[in-house]
Every structure is written in C-alpha cells, then in structure tokens.
Symmetry: C2
C-alpha cells in the first residue's frame, strides 16, 4: 500500500469525516504549535486547548492540578491570564509541573477538526525531525494547517511542505501526495533554493501576514524562535478523552 | 500606491464582496481557460458560460446567432452537445463565426464569483504574457483559481504563481502579495528549478489530480496543449451585462 500524504491548507478545506481514523499533524507555526512544544519542553504537565476565553477560565477554575492560563486574542495576552502566546513565556520557572489551559483561535479550531482522528500530533519547525519520524510509519498522514484568521498562512504551509517532502524522501515513490501537498512541497523547495535571502527560514517566515501581525505588536523574536528547526525532540500528542495535549516523546529540551 | 496581487486558491476562499471593483484573472488551466482561449483564437464570436446543462441548452435554443453547445461533466462531452471541453475541438472549422454556449462546473463557478468585479479576464498558460501585460497597470489584481471539484488544483496555482511573479518583477518592491500569492510564487519557482524533470511544464501539470482525471479518459494531449505557453496573444474578457466572454485583444492566433 502506498502511503498517502494529504495537506489541508486550512481547517475549512477538510472535514472531521475526512480526518476520521487518520493520523493528523496540526500545524500553527506562529505561534501555537511552537509555544506548545516549548511549554512541554519546559516541563508543563499537559495543555488543555480551548476555543473560548470563558471556557478556559472555567476549566482553570475547576482544575485540581497546579494550573496556569495562557493564550491570546489578536496576538495579545488575555486580561487576567498568566501568559500570552509567546514561546518565550513558557519557560520552566513559569510552567514546570503545571497544567496549562490554553486558548488560541486558529490552533484550537484546527484541533477541533480532528475530533474523529485516530492520532493527533502537533508539528512545528522546533520539533520537525521528531514529528517526521514519529509519523513516518503511518499509512495515511494528514497535515492540517491552522492558518491565520481563517486565511491560509504562508509559514504553516512551508512546514507542511517540509514534512511532506521528508516523508516522501523516506517512502520514495510509494508516497502519494494530494495537490495541496504538491504545492506545499514546491513552496518549501523554493525557500530552500535560498531565494528569500541569507536570513534563511526566519526570513521566509517573516513575510507572512501572521508574521507582520507579530511585528506590529513587537513580537519579532517569536519569529526567530519559531525558525529554530529541531531545537526539541518532543512530539506533543492530543488525547481526545480527556481532551489534553501531552508530550508523547520527551528526550530533549 | 503599491500594487496588490492577491491569489485565491479556490473560489470558496474569497467572496463576491472581496472581488467587488477588482480586476480578476480567472484560471482553470485544465481545461476551461485553455479551451476558451483556443476557441476565441479559432474565431468564435463569443462564449456564454453556464453553470447548468439545462440552462446551456435553453440559451442555445433561444440564440439568434449561429450557436454551438460545448462543455463537460466529469471530463466527458455532454449528451446532445456539439463539443466537449478539449481545446482540440475548438478549431476554426467547428467554431469560427459562432457563439459557444459553454458549461463546465469549475470554471463557471469561478466566473460567477466575479459578478461584482470591475474587470474579469481569463488566464491560461497559452496566453500567459498577454494576460500579464493586459493587467499589469491595474492597482489591485486578484488571481482566482477555479480548482477541480471544489479542491485546490496544482496546475491552476502554478499559473497564478507565474502571473504573480511576472507582475512582481514588473512592479518590483511595490507589489504586495497575500500569503496565497507567496505560496503560488514559491510553487511556480520550484517548478522552474527543473525539479520535475526534463519534460518541463507539461510534466508539472501532469502530476495533479485534474491531470490524472484527464489521463484516465484518454485526454493526455490536452495537458501538453495547456502547457504551450504564449501560443496566443488573446485576452478573453467577461462582459457582465450581457453575460459573455469575448476576445478583448486579438492580435495572434
């Protein structure tokens, strides 16, 4: 059986039914995916992703574990929350040994699209190689890009392309890519050609609308951090019942 | 004012309101765009695009001009129609001096999304350079990919990338691209690097799902024909009232 690698450039371009029984890599490079990897690397117990701010507050209030509230609206920390959505905030002194109740719109919407999936992992450049090897044995892999405000995000598609290319190189001609995966691989390869200049991946990430939003709120450091490929050997994995993200593999940090 | 170049990878990824007042290039490389250029180059009077087969029959029945019926469902000629959707059928002996009432699902759906646009032209590889120069003076250009069965088509995005890159080269740093345009340009550039092998563009077009559908019905020639960049100097333009496509510039053929 050939391995299928399907990319979905936005959650709205697929359905829960299409993802049912599949292995899904959820991608939100700027910044939820990157921040989740950082948080687990910093020793967070687990992360409970929520779509709504009130829901997050409610879950945190009833938590029996040491718990912090994190997340953003329009890039900024939410009033009364402990932390925003910058990976820089998710360091051991802030989150080690704690549950994080976390709300971001784009990333959480993508996770909710995976309710019927068999396995859901979180992919970022900071855990690129570990994610690739973690899913490479699966017969059908879906790469789900979160996007920004319901629009396709350049940086998410670049990572989807990098993962699809890596899986294709592992499986050779046995990998069957959908058209969106072909596009993602093409976009990724054109970055590899160095056409975006000497700054490499960080420069490529910086030209997206999501990145411009971060620059506008003074969070340019988060873009450089998101571009640190293979900084961690952690694969955050979503448990559907109870709903939380934990580190499936934790050898690095 | 910088020039904005926005790509929409599918009609559903934009709205009529977003396209209101804009200049839109509608792209359906396999095969409606390519076939429309061929038909006008062959001397067709005009082309009336329809979403429904019955609507097409009705319009043809009431036409006061010499009229032929063309189009496809699932790639095949429709029962009782004169021609299918292969550019090879749209030659002078079949269509010169005639109106073509034409129904294809993907391309027509894209055209209907442009009801509020200021100017709508049809782009294909076969009229690539003429389309680019025809729109390059516009302040805001939207490139609308038709897709295949509501899914993103590799070949449409490659052409969108080629046009966006060409406009960017004309305008320099004054061109502002949305994330989908960045992706399209990246995918197009990676094809230019020759990574798809010696067959060039035709090979790149042949790997999409739409192309595999054509191969399955024995229409592989249409893929080679769609890849003949700059064969014509024709820009098909959509008149909204009355609803028809005509050749705005006709210097070649």
């Amino acid at each position: 059986m050939p391995q299928t690698v399907n990319v979905h450039l936005l959650p709205s371009l697929t359905t829960r039914q299409q993802l049912a029984g599949k292995t899904v890599v959820v991608i939100d490079v700027l910044r939820a995916s990157t921040t989740i990897v950082h948080a687990l690397a910093a020793g967070a117990l687990d992360i409970v992703p929520c779509l709504e701010v009130d829901e997050a507050r409610e879950i945190a209030r009833h938590s029996e574990l040491p718990t912090v509230l994190g997340g953003e609206r329009e890039g900024l920390k939410i009033e009364g929350f402990d932390f925003g959505n910058s990976p820089l905030e998710y360091v051991p002194e802030n989150v080690a040994g704690k549950r994080i109740v976390f709300t971001t719109t784009n990333g959480t919407r993508a996770l909710l699209q995976c309710r019927l999936a068999r396995r859901v992992v979180i992919g970022a450049f900071v855990n690129f190689s570990t994610v690739c090897s973690s899913v490479s044995g699966e017969p059908a892999i879906d790469l789900l890009c979160a996007g920004t405000s319901k629009e396709i995000s350049h940086e998410d598609v670049l990572l989807a392309g990098a993962i699809a290319e890596q899986l294709q190189q592992t499986k050779g001609t046995d990998a069957v890519l959908n058209d969106q995966a072909l596009l993602a691989v093409g976009a990724w390869r054109s970055i590899q050609e160095g056409r975006t200049g000497p700054g490499g991946l960080a420069n490529a990430l910086a030209i997206s609308r999501g990145a411009r939003n971060l620059l506008a709120i003074g969070q340019q450091r988060d873009i450089e951090i998101a571009a640190r490929t293979d900084q961690f050997e952690i694969v955050p994995e979503l448990d559907l019942e109870p709903w939380k993200i934990r580190a499936a593999i934790d050898r690095g940090g």
